[in-house]
Symmetry: D3
Subunit: 250 residues, 6 copies
């Protein structure tokens, strides 16, 4: 099975860390490709960043389809470009937020998401609703870390995240933590150890969900809202992204 | 007041029709600029099209900000790029779906949206939920028209749309119709006449909402999820879109 | 355009203040009439007060219809008599709570309403739900001011309201404030200045929404739950309010 | 125990029928008083009628409090004036819609409400939501009967209602019927016999709920949104309804 | 009328206390039988305990049906076995949580449930949703008492419960308290006196609701999800519980 | 990895079919044990059957824990005993309804569940809500097949199920089918082929989800509502199920 992980931001140090986290949990026979798009934001911290990141994600998914990838993973906790990607992919496309929340829902009666900046909270709260998790998610807490702070070895990221985790358990009565940024993937095991509750990293969850779906032979339905884009002209700089009639399913 | 209307697709015949519909309802002192982006899909019929359209919308909003526009309108019923646009705009940014639904909610106890293709239904149903209109919207009905069919003088668009309207009134107990595509803007008056119920075109609604908000001196809040994008590098083809520190509010 | 603003309580000093707030924002060509009913409570602080205020509102809407008013505004943040008024009005009838919330929803990712007494909280929370704003409204906060305290020049209203605003921004993560009483209309600009976020007064919002709807030529749908009252006898003191067959639409 | 049943409309033939239905189910020791207000609509078929009916209801509840009534029942399926009545009553005030729905929820996995005119549907759907019954109520169906048609011996009311009941069972998968108008109270037993499912009349349900609450010694909480109206002046024709400081609890 | 109250746990001292609480409020002509099952947990503090308690409840309901019981009450605040019991009972089966919440909803604008251990919170929150009370229930608070602590005369149960009640009124703005364990039934009157708000014990509420439904002649609908169990074989230790064709309604 | 699949009914022919379906999709290194409980109903078609099946499930989970099982699967589409099982299991416990719905939500914009008898519909609709899938599930359709009809080689099960699938696609606009009974597991591939949309069998989905969670090293959180049952006495026939202090986590 060939699995393509797309870090939607263009910071390759984070991409490499994500790839390593994925490799730790993927099965030996799973072939992993982890990339960042050629274009787009260095980090994703709002709707504007997400809009550009989505194009990078789509570019990589289109390439992935040409390369025969079995499933794609969008490795940013806002799941940018996820729905659009499902229109162009035959196999499953998994967002790490969706994967993390659904994984948590099997083992938890109420979880908290620890995000980076406060400004990302509305994006995550929106995903909580869209994924049907408003009855399960007890809080989205901001650690007030910029995404790229997570990359700095001298940052106090671990401390700040842990603080919010403890508040989530104590004040919000959560019994499970979701790390709300792909850049936190390497902290999961350590924090879970410290807290004594499941701590779920979305990259890990998405890799395992993707493997599961591919082995189930479940692919993205083309009979509804994820139907292949209709062939049409795209103007200007996006001309090369125009869906051609060859793409149409069937 | 300067009002910029962005038709997110690149079909200028539709852009001109939208501009004419807006001009019919705008106040004399409102200065209207109606444009299509330089790049992007000829019509928007799914998440994939929307992702690219969003970039075109953002490009035009950024230009609009530089030109001193007081408010922007996103004139596609899926409201592509709306939330991201609010991060970069000082003044209000109004989507035609949001404007139409909120307008309807003042005069109706239950409305239906008549959309184009069935594949767009999930996008509209999502907006209904996000805008808090699930208690008001009784149905989203597809007329099985492609967006560009609306441009063809010989199409049976009016007939197909009218048929769905009648079903909405009779079977779904709706008392108000929303035209679910900017390309239907010129049909509103005629269909309303025929049905005897309010028929709301989003372009019209958005122009009047935009005028209202500007005159109220209400601008987009920068204290929450619509805060100005943080300065950071954007790689590759999107480098020119990178938020600079000059943009940060304050 | 002729616009009638009804302050549902019978305190004319507040009516005059409301009229002044409306005049500051209405367009020159809009003709404003601002009234209080002849009968009813001096202030509205609960369901009982609202029930009587609703009759005064209806009395004024009926007169407004006879006078050729284009739209009515119900200028109390509980929107008393709003739905009943829509049955007897041809043009739009706008409640200030509904107008404020819908206005806020265009520019905010989460707002708070600052109300007067704690006992009004359930009424406002109900409106938040009915208007589909439970995903947007982060809190309804009581300032523990009686409505008529707002009229007393020596009251500490501004201080108490400001305190709750600050808590709303800090603790509830709101990015926009709604002033939850028509009697606060004159505080909006000043508080917005102080807080640096949009502060929305319902009177202002309703005037601009009413102007917008009238110019859109959107009137209240008579095909559903706002159909004209059926002709029938009304007994006793209310005999003069009995709908006659002349009222029936068509 | 003294129980006052208020038929909010002023049609005494219906009031008498309601009184008879109540008498059939009340306990021997329960003293029933069934009245219509002195003022207000002959039938209630919309928000406008409800607004006036609410005043009549309040007038009777205020008298009932003076007369030492233990609980009040509002015997119209729209529950007009219910919340306001709870502010002025010490004992419970029970609406027949609320009583019917809560009764049904103990014995049914999904019920339908059969109402009179289609225009009342939005009022009932609103109550379904407010009473938390949207997960239980499978449909609100209109029989297209005017309320006073139910009083006419020659009307085909029973046939039309039964037709909708059968559709509710067959098409909406309901297993219980609620008669959505006090004027249908005398049909419950007969229709239940015919359908073989519980058919719940709100008058019956409200009488038994009222008896239950009084015997439980549970009275309306005055610590929240049903607190006694604050003393204040009421202008004009409503002056006599002004809450005086004597009314305040404690 | 014969009413059977089943304490689903096997601690007879609690059963007796429940029986005494029921006797205080039941009508003289109501014949009460209060029992514990022969098998099952000494207290119910989680889903596992509930699963076993449900069998004990069903055993007693089946016996009750043979004995001609008119209605059953499940006297544990998690309502274990309630839905299954409704399949085998002809008359109503009332859970004390459901009865307490629905009773409260007639007299309160927002209530809190005071439960025992924190681990029970998710069970109660689930019931709040299932019973449509999420708009009414402002909090579920744990007093950190084990169920059987309530039986110990020297426990500080009253103090701990009262503390949470006060927080519920002050911080959660509740105006009514529900005692979230059958073992608290004897505290209701005393705590209500102290707090000055309605305090509702589910045993009391269920007895009065059961009496009301029986007198209304409303029985459990067999036309939907509470249909009589289909005849089939049960293996092993449960063979005697196999539904036989004699049980099928009709 | 050792994976235990529990068919909660006691019909071993179905158990064997389930085991075969699981084996087709499990990884070679996954050791599968598929069992039926020793006691309980031959098929599960309602709440009553579920209550007894839950005990059988718990019995097998307890044994599974003793045997060092890594994860359990509850292979009945009502997920009986699932939450209780999570209290006694260290590893994940996966219900096939939950697994199927969450799997579908990755690849579908709206699915339908095809169940057996109409009486099961309320149980499935409840699960749809509890799992947060009400925005995704467009219908639960009954095929009017008894569970054990699925075992009869001469039944018209495939035809009836296919009919409902086609209605789900055409009338409910679904793009994905969930087979709502473990007994349908062997039909998935064939029906998917015929319909051209994903058809998801819960057994398959649960096996792959279980493998994924075990490999993620995510276990059931013991810090909230799935905490280990507290040690206490169980009376009578259930004495052997009493949680002992040895079980308590830690």
């Amino acid at each position: 099975m060939k699995l393509k992980i797309i870090n939607p931001n263009t910071t390759w140090s984070m991409t490499n860390m994500i790839g390593a986290a994925a490799a730790r949990v993927a099965r030996p026979e799973t072939q992993l490709v982890t990339v960042s798009p050629k274009m787009g934001p260095a980090s994703i911290e709002g709707h504007y960043d997400e809009a550009f990141a989505a194009i990078g994600v789509l570019d990589e998914v289109l390439k992935g389809e040409a390369e025969g990838v079995d499933a794609h993973i969008v490795a940013c906790f806002g799941d940018p470009g996820l729905l659009a990607s499902r229109e162009v992919a035959r196999g499953p496309v998994i967002g790490i937020a969706e994967a993390a929340m659904k994984t948590a829902s099997f083992v938890s009666t109420g979880f908290s998401v620890i995000s980076t900046l406060a400004r990302s909270r509305v994006i995550l709260e929106h995903l909580v609703n869209v994924y049907g998790m408003s009855g399960k998610c007890r809080s989205v807490r901001a650690s007030n870390l910029a995404v790229l702070d997570l990359e700095r070895p001298d940052s106090n990221a671990r401390t700040l995240i842990l603080e919010e985790c403890l508040l989530a358990l104590r004040e919000d009565h959560s019994d499970c933590i979701l790390l709300g940024c792909a850049g936190m993937a390497d902290l999961a095991a350590d924090i879970s150890q410290e807290l004594g509750v499941p701590v779920i990293d979305g990259v890990t969850a998405a890799v395992k969900m993707a493997e599961a779906l591919v082995e189930m032979k479940v692919s993205t339905s083309k009979a509804g809202g994820f139907a292949t884009p209709l062939p049409k002209a795209y103007a200007g700089a996006f001309a090369r992204f125009a869906p051609s009639s060859d793409d149409v399913n069937g």
